[in-house]
Symmetry: D2
């Protein structure tokens, strides 16, 4: 449904043409310094109209904290965040509403609900993601302050233009949001970025659209996150990412390419980390082993399909099953991945924050117990 998370729980609302969109966040730690500015920065990064590559609509997307904060601090009570819609009148019915748009959600929403939002796909609208981004910013504020967590997503593929694998590992260690935002395609790779830009311009000229790939790295997440067996960290991340509109794939660490490796090559051997703990010498696991974070960088890739809305006519059928042509209307975003970057970051933050709370519950509860005797080496090896 429209709720995500267990201990840090976000419920979103809103479609394209209602009065506002937003969310309620429950489970926010009390005493966190938080203002609207902390949230606005990511909403602004998500906003369309920031470059020539994205839809030129001017949505201001100003967030208001309705509850849960006083004097700049969270109270621990639910935080409601709202962002007004600029155009909140329901659409009138028009001729083009005869057709469910191909690969859009019009048809399936009708199948599911027996009714549709006047604007078409209802909650499948990109505006639905505003609540996610706003909530993610709150999670991120905590994670950065307490754990120094850094979450950076960036574009690594636009159509066939992709960042080379060899370049990716270095990027994972060093990339920042500033570097990402330096190009309008949000690709920090100097070779790929201009080619991506051109590819998007080309798509736009062709009145067509293209897919792309967003890669995300989470640095400094504590070890121990993720709940076996169904709520493994990678399962939670996959759920989160595949709930973003237009996603078609998710891979963590070595991903699909890892299926071609031998175990001896894929295994991440341990070594002392110089701080009394262990680290791995390689990181094909992507920071997760047995569904639990191991303290290394968590990184994953998300595939986005080409946007279904294109500026050219399409031969298809009406709701009633009659063949015809759905005429193109207006200008459309030819590639969503640059704007998807803060959405991927937000969903990552929501997953990490929820698992941090879950693990803190376990650790705090366990540490009050008498220790297990040291001689039970089979279950307490050191």
């Amino acid at each position: 449904m429209s709720t995500f998370g267990s201990a840090f729980r976000v419920t979103t609302y809103g479609e394209s043409h209602c009065k506002s969109v937003g969310c309620i966040i429950d489970g926010v730690p009390p005493g966190l310094a938080l203002t609207e500015a902390d949230i606005q920065v990511q909403l602004t990064r998500r906003r369309p109209g920031q470059s020539k590559l994205t839809t030129p609509r001017n949505e201001l997307d100003q967030v208001t904290i309705q509850s849960g904060c006083e004097l700049g601090y969270t109270l621990g009570t639910p935080i409601c965040l709202t962002v007004p819609n600029q155009d909140h009148r329901p659409h009138d019915y028009s001729e083009t509403d005869l057709y469910p748009r191909p690969s859009h959600a019009d048809y399936t929403y009708m199948q599911k609900y027996g009714i549709k939002a006047s604007s078409g796909g209802g909650r499948s609208s990109a505006r639905e993601t505003i609540g996610r981004v706003a909530a993610g910013a709150v999670a991120e504020k905590y994670l950065a302050e307490v754990h120094g967590v850094e979450i950076v997503a960036f574009v690594t593929g636009v159509g066939a233009i992709q960042v080379a694998d060899a370049d990716l590992q270095a990027l994972l260690a060093t990339v920042t949001r500033e570097i990402v935002d330096a190009t309008d395609v949000r690709c920090p790779d100097a070779r790929a970025a201009p080619a991506m830009h051109e590819e998007i311009v080309r798509c736009s000229a062709e009145k067509n659209s293209t897919g792309g790939i967003v890669t995300c790295v989470i640095r400094n997440a504590p070890a121990g996150l993720g709940e076996p067996c169904f709520d493994k960290l990678e399962a939670r991340l996959a759920h989160a990412m595949m709930s973003i509109p237009a996603t078609k794939g998710f891979e963590i660490g070595s991903g699909f390419a890892g299926t071609c490796m031998r175990g001896s090559e894929h295994n991440d051997a341990f070594e002392a980390d110089g701080l009394g703990g262990l680290r791995t010498r390689s990181n094909h696991s992507g920071g997760v082993q047995g569904g639990i974070s191991n303290g290394q960088d968590i990184y994953f890739r998300v595939a986005f399909k080409p946007p279904a809305t294109i500026s050219q006519d399409q031969a298809t059928a009406t709701y009633a099953g009659e063949g015809g042509v759905l005429a193109a209307r207006g200008r459309h975003d030819p590639c969503v991945v640059p704007r998807a970057v803060p959405i991927v970051e937000a969903m990552a933050a929501l997953v990490i924050m929820d698992t941090v709370l879950q693990q803190n519950a376990r650790t705090a509860t366990r540490q009050l117990l008498r220790p297990v005797p040291d001689d039970l080496k089979a279950i307490k090896p050191f």
Copy 2:
């Protein structure tokens, strides 16, 4: 945690060396004909030792229905399923327990719980999946009887040996479990299967392991499944699949390859289905649009890494951070994908069954309302 699903809810238990493994299933529809034989068939498919390619351990894995059924029918109350472990004594501590096994869950379980199962990874053991497979068989029994749902998973990659894309689409429409089980690698492609067999034999001879890919198709799932916005059908499926041990990636429909397509090519145009409804002419969407099933075949791919346990020594470090060599012990499964097939099917069945119940609640509740007036075309287009 160890519970999956909302309306059809499965909770599993058990690790390698406890007395039994199994699950409780809550929300099973009452009046479903169900016997242990219905469940045993998939447990037997999951069992190791079925061919020369898998671990020769002989686990019988006989399931018992503890509750929730009488006279061959479900009562609607929780069904507890148990499978005894053959060896349920905790291990003694041995020298090799000094080392957390590379890319296994030993280290992260210690980080998470501060204690470990004597056998190492505890719930990360492959035996944990028995509860999933048993529960999936119950879900599948309902789906097959009522909706004619067919769920068939099969191997499409072993290391670099992969089924060609061109051959895949035909397989999706026609493959059956009988065809899948005809080869020990569970690959229905006549060209790829022998090569896969040889690749696994080669890995075994090299005392190494290899990864692989499982593809799954769900035929005849009703339209309307999946709950926007966070519980989109593909998000639920991704969650389910990425919770299976050793998975590294998930893609639905066109997946990562779809990122390189143009929108005009990727869009699935509609046409009349001859039954008063619509179908799509292509199926790049993989049966899901806007997070909701559209009645077409749902298909997806799952990446499995090479098993971390290999029959060769590995240079790594002890829990205490001292470098050393973890000696190989025993024989191990060089490739898990043939045995993963029924696990993928089970998780798919659990997702579909849960979403069917959720959608049935909505539909049954909605249909009791007075209809929305037909003249409100903007929200009721036909």
Copy 3:
């Protein structure tokens, strides 16, 4: 936390001095006719300042539907409802803030959160109930239209003034909201109402407060509601009612008095209902047997303690443990039960709606199965 319900799920937000209060409702059936007027009527009944007996503050409490509806119909997507707070500036600290108010939530909120809302008890404020009442009105709209459900709560006790048991059974069958609202104490018993009024006036004159009892009847709820074993209908109702601020007790049907009855007297024998089904000749069960509704009237009582805020000085201690006197401030509501009436109704509606959705899922799913053979009389007796 701040979410209630499973299939019909309400999340509320807001405290006394934030910008607004309200809720998000997820799981609303699509196609339900719904306008703000449907919701406003119960919010207005909840509002203080309606008679001489309640706080004379003038809160307008105008609700806005932010999302989930178009052209007067629900879309099936989340409905966000907001009600602005008139005074949304955080309070300044004042001398009286030194003291946690006795039997209020100030002290426990500090224990729980380590921080407090400037107004004191934060979410324990009566304004928190606005979100509940708004959501309950949506649930009730559906239940009334489809099942003819009638939910009527009324005051049956103010201090020692109580409606006689003999009069209660007749009231349960006939009482309406119009009758309830005919007196300012919201007691439909002609003998008790004036005495209750006088008791509240007396309390007010004494600068004191009094407790009371609200009784609620739910008529026409379908049989089959409630989920064994932990989510029995009476357990869900008890949870709902005891989550209302200031409640101290709940009883259903015969309640505590029933503990003094013999089984032969308490048992509700069956008889034909003239419609092909069964009804019970008596209703000591309160409409629920084995945790499941049986189609008879569901009725229960809720105890409310005297409000903790009184208009007289109180000897107590500061947060720092120093004894002192907390001075009275302002005028206060001497008895909450008249205003609690719509809150009790709302929580009842939320429980019934959620259980209706859960049961509809089961029934719709079950009815698609082949019938259990008639000769299995032990499990299918007729």
Copy 4:
């Protein structure tokens, strides 16, 4: 459904005539010393046949830990507990199955599921409570070891025989399970216990049954437990208690009697506790204020109706609506409250344990933040 709790989550299974009954407990802290003996003690207290007052059936109810423990310690993974049923053959249909038993669950189960367990009420059987008691014993083990929590339930009413209010307060402070078990009625009040015994004997002789009241005190529960606004501690306790079969009422602290008190009398003033914190001088609140525990004793009362199964004939109707007489069969328990004592304790332990985990998550997470500045007195008063 059959799952209770959020962070400490129990799922039960089993009815009267299946192979076993039991539960899976998820979220148990790792490293807790736990053996079957810890659990058996409460199961044995729950067992019938312990005195002349209860059913003389001899159920041994031996528990087995199936998973989640090794070498006497919990692993943090799910613990499955099973107890075999002695008679696990489904019943044959007999003439008396024509009749739904009055005030039992036969009729409502048929309404809900369209099928019934051969023994009648299925999960409404008292054997369902075995899983609860087993799980409660695990929770209690932790709470006692870490917090010194003491949970003691005892009988305070059998029919009209009730422990005087004046005697109750002293009992709350001092009663132990040993004292409770000293009498077969499990009433620690020397005056009431013999009268209760006689009342039950009288009922038995009359082939009838009687209701009763169980009071429970929880000592040493930490302050801060309970989650506003819907999961207030008293709401969770009410839910838990009202999910026990045969319960009709719940009250905490002053309860229904508190509705007759003035606020000035009911309010619990604070004083220094001599340990740097506060305590209350009285405890009408029952240890909970604003839905959150305040560190004082938590006490509550639960009403149980007279058992529906009585040893005398009853005039009622068949499933088909024909009037007739349901003949008495066998001997039956004339009063359930003595056996309900460990069930009430178990459910109390489950609630407290779950809220402890939830609050530990919050506290541990909050304490890693930079402190809120001391000068923000309105939100940080000391």
